[in-house]
Amino acid sequence: MKSKGAIFLAIVVVAFMSACGGGSGDKEKKGKFAPPPKAKPMTYEEAQADWKNQKGRGPITKVELGELDAEMAKKGEDIYVLKCTACHAPDKEKLGPAPTGIFERRTPEWIMNMILNPEEMAMKDPIGRGLLMKYNTVMANQGLTEDDARAVLEYFRTL
């Protein structure tokens, strides 16, 4: 009898506990479903090998490069000199990589997303993450507008 009573009280206690918070109940529910298999994130090397398809993360999904726009490129150079040269020399590695030859390793979309959205690129983009590991620092967001970044891209085409 007594042992039955113990079981009864134990049920009461459990009932109160679950009524009280509900936290443990939720956990149990979650436990019933296995998490969906996560896709293994791309490594830097894999992404680099596939760079022509890497657009990065950010506001830019498509860039059309037409004839070189010299006026836009000049504007881009001015912006680059003012906002970027503390860390990037045009033709040699300073604190970050040089933009000369960048179109042989990055898409225009990736470049603009890196300029406009450097924090997320460093955390989530496989190439961005690889660069963070290499250069030890998240690139500063220098507050460029999309037009500014497009002009800087045009300047990079002249290098």
């Binding site: 007594k2 009280l9 009280c20 003012l82 906002k83 040269t85 503390a86 030890n136 620092t137």
Partner: protein, 659 residues
């Protein structure tokens, strides 16, 4: 069996424990109200407060910004006192802000933060605050939360009744709390009655940054002018100042300035003053005062010594000033939201005296004068008095209003907030304050339109005692937040403040938050010693002065190695923060500097002066943790003997320059 019994007992205990811990639903009323008060002030992590509340720092000289209803401290804005944390008053750019006719004044006592107004409502453009000791008014720009302008008030001693703007911020006002010889002269102190005078000052340019100026001053009898409020609505065009010490005591004022039954509220018709100024009926006095202005383009303050003020003499300007007799050394004078009632808080009394603006105009019209003092008519008390709020409390100081027809008065001696009806002048509720409340603040409660019809009230208390964990002899002054939206006031929260939270004003966050400057654009930087790119960095010697044109960005200085400095040099570190992102300030600390750090906002240039005393190589570094490589953001500066021939050289990495 025994073990089963034991399990039983354990389970019963556990179930009871869990049951009672299950919520406050069945607990005492006290616990209920704690939980409901907690809910009302809880701002979840990552969420925002509903109000900005600007507190004066009192004898800290600064302004602190808290969020309401949480009470969280958001920022300290240096205003009248130097602040090593921000380099304010230490760097070359902000030193001019603290210039006065007495020279550089590194401290003051800040009292009344007042928001700018348009049509009697807080517009969220600027905050003004007065310095009590060396009389001044400062402007804080509410897009940057920086002090951008300070004007000195001449012919004043202790500027307490200030800045109290008019309905459209046409003027800010000031009055002398301590009468002094005006103009100043060397006289015996006991010639007070003969030589000491008061002034009322009107300052123009409140809505125009950089344009604050002394519009005119009015010479008044030598009383102590304590507080002010400008008329609004029906009383727009008038300003009211309280006085005490009409006894004109100059010693043991505690007793001798409290002899008479009544003192005066001065009613100043400033529209009439404008007419007299336009007619040229003023005296031009050669008084000097400083005007200091800080530009967010040059990132530099400039001091200008001004000379000459226009002074109006009441005996020569009829209709300019009237006195309203008011019992018991009135402290605060507060004007109801419509502008009709002028409330005198007689601090040595139990009661509040309410005058009617309409009755005042009628009494002036009918010339119901009992006396005249230095050309100022004293109006008949019964002709202006409309009601007395009999409180049964002690020591009323200040009154603010909700938008629902109530006044709320702080009682210092009996330490309570008393709510009363503007219709019946009867007390409808009261609640204790912990302890010795001075000012109180209802966001918008001094304007024509209290926000949300008066939802919160903040008590600013002079005494803390046992409210917090004890911290030695000195305790943070305490503030309390009350919910006043219902019939009964409810205490929600205690929170500590900085210095003396003398007064505070609050504004809905939505009026300010969206126009915040996040960084200064490099393209717009007009600082004389800016370096906008690393290619512009250089070190220039001019005799014994050395000017470093430097930059900083995550995470290096340019240049970061400097040689050729000599003992006896005066080194100017002009450093530009090249970041163009929100919340990325960098600091500069130089070993042995006799001033402070620089804390430079993105896009800003600031200058630290450093005078090395001995040969050696000294590190300098960034103080504000800026990136994963913050610890590496450091450089060296070499100091040679005065007569050494060390060449001037500077470098960053492979880029080296020099003589």
């Amino acid at each position: 069996m025994r073990s089963t019994t034991f399990i039983f007992a354990l389970l019963i205990t556990a179930s009871l424990f869990i049951y009672s811990g299950c919520g406050n639903g069945n607990s005492t009323g006290g616990a209920m109200s704690h939980s409901s008060a907690a809910e009302k002030v809880y701002v979840a992590p990552g969420e925002y407060d509903q109000y900005y509340e600007f507190f004066s720092g009192g004898f800290s000289g600064q302004v602190t910004v808290h969020g309401l209803p949480s009470g969280r401290l958001l920022k300290t804005i240096p205003v009248f006192s130097v602040d090593g944390e921000k380099g304010y008053g230490f760097n070359e750019e902000t030193k001019p802000m603290l210039m006065t006719t007495y020279g550089f004044v590194p401290w003051d006592d800040s009292h009344h933060p007042k928001l700018s107004q348009t049509e009697g409502v807080h517009d969220g453009n600027f905050l003004f605050i007065n310095a009590n000791n060396t009389p001044r008014i400062a402007r804080i720009d509410l897009t940057t939360f920086e002090t951008t302008e300070i004007i000195e008030i001449p012919n004043s001693g202790g500027s307490h009744a200030s800045p109290y703007p008019t309905q459209n911020t046409e003027y800010l006002v000031a009055a002398t709390r301590f009468s002094v010889p005006i103009p100043q002269k060397d006289v015996p102190i006991d010639s007070y009655k003969e030589n000491f005078k008061g002034t009322f000052t009107f300052i123009s340019g409140g809505q125009e940054p950089g344009e604050m100026d002394i519009a005119f001053q009015i010479l008044a009898p030598g009383y102590d002018y304590d507080l002010a409020h400008c008329g609004k609505g029906v009383s727009h065009g008038w300003t009211f100042f309280t006085s005490y010490n009409v006894e004109q005591a100059n010693t043991l004022k505690e007793k001798n300035a409290s002899q008479y039954d009544k003192d005066y509220i001065a009613a100043v018709n400033w529209k009439k003053a404008e007419e007299y100024i336009a007619q040229g009926k003023f005296k031009e006095w050669p008084s000097e005062y400083y005007h200091n202005y800080y530009s967010d383009k040059t990132h530099t303050g400039t001091s200008t010594k001004m000379k000459g003020v226009k002074v109006l003499i009441p005996s020569e300007c009829p209709g300019l000033v009237y006195y309203l007799p008011t019992p018991k050394s009135p402290h605060g004078v507060d004007v109801s939201p419509t502008g009709e009632y002028i409330v005198g808080n007689g601090k040595l009394s139990a009661d509040l005296t309410v005058h009617s603006f309409e009755k005042m105009l009628a009494a002036i019209e009918a010339k119901k004068f009992d006396d005249e003092i230095d050309g100022i008519p004293v109006l008949n008390y019964d002709a202006v008095h409309v009601g007395t709020v009999e409180m049964g409390g002690l020591g009323p100081l200040h009154t603010e209003f909700d938008g629902r027809g109530h006044g709320y008065t702080s009682f210092f001696i009996s330490s309570e907030v008393v709510k009363w009806s503007l219709e019946t002048f009867e007390v409808v509720d009261r609640i204790p304050a912990y302890y010795s409340i001075g000012h109180l603040s209802i966001p918008g409660g001094g304007s024509m339109k209290p926000w949300e019809n008066g939802k919160y009230l903040i008590a600013m208390n002079k005494i803390t005692k046992d409210r917090y964990l004890p911290t030695g002899p000195e305790l943070a002054h305490s503030a309390q937040l009350y919910d006043i939206s219902g019939d009964k006031m409810e205490l929600l929260l205690d929170f500590p403040t900085m210095g003396e939270p003398h007064y505070a004003q609050g504004i809905l966050a939505s009026k300010i938050m969206d126009k915040q400057v996040k960084f200064f654009r490099l393209e717009e930087n007009e600082h004389k010693y800016k370096a906008l790119t690393e290619a512009d960095t250089k070190v220039v010697r001019k005799g014994k002065e050395v000017h470093i044109y430097g930059t900083m960005i995550r995470s290096h200085f340019a240049p970061d190695n400097i040689e050729g400095i000599k003992v006896g040099d005066k080194v100017f570190w002009h450093i530009t923060n090249l970041e163009q992102d929100w919340d990325v300030p960098h600091g500069l600390a130089v070993m042995g500097a006799n001033n402070a750090e620089l804390l430079i906002m993105p896009g800003q240039t600031e200058t630290l002066v450093w005078e090395p005393k001995a040969e050696g190589v000294y590190p300098f570094y960034c103080t504000d943790f800026c990136s994963a490589l913050h610890q590496e953001m450091q450089g060296y500066i070499r100091v040679s003997a005065e007569n050494a021939n060390t060449k001037m050289k500077w470098r960053l990495g492979d880029e080296a320059f020099g003589e």
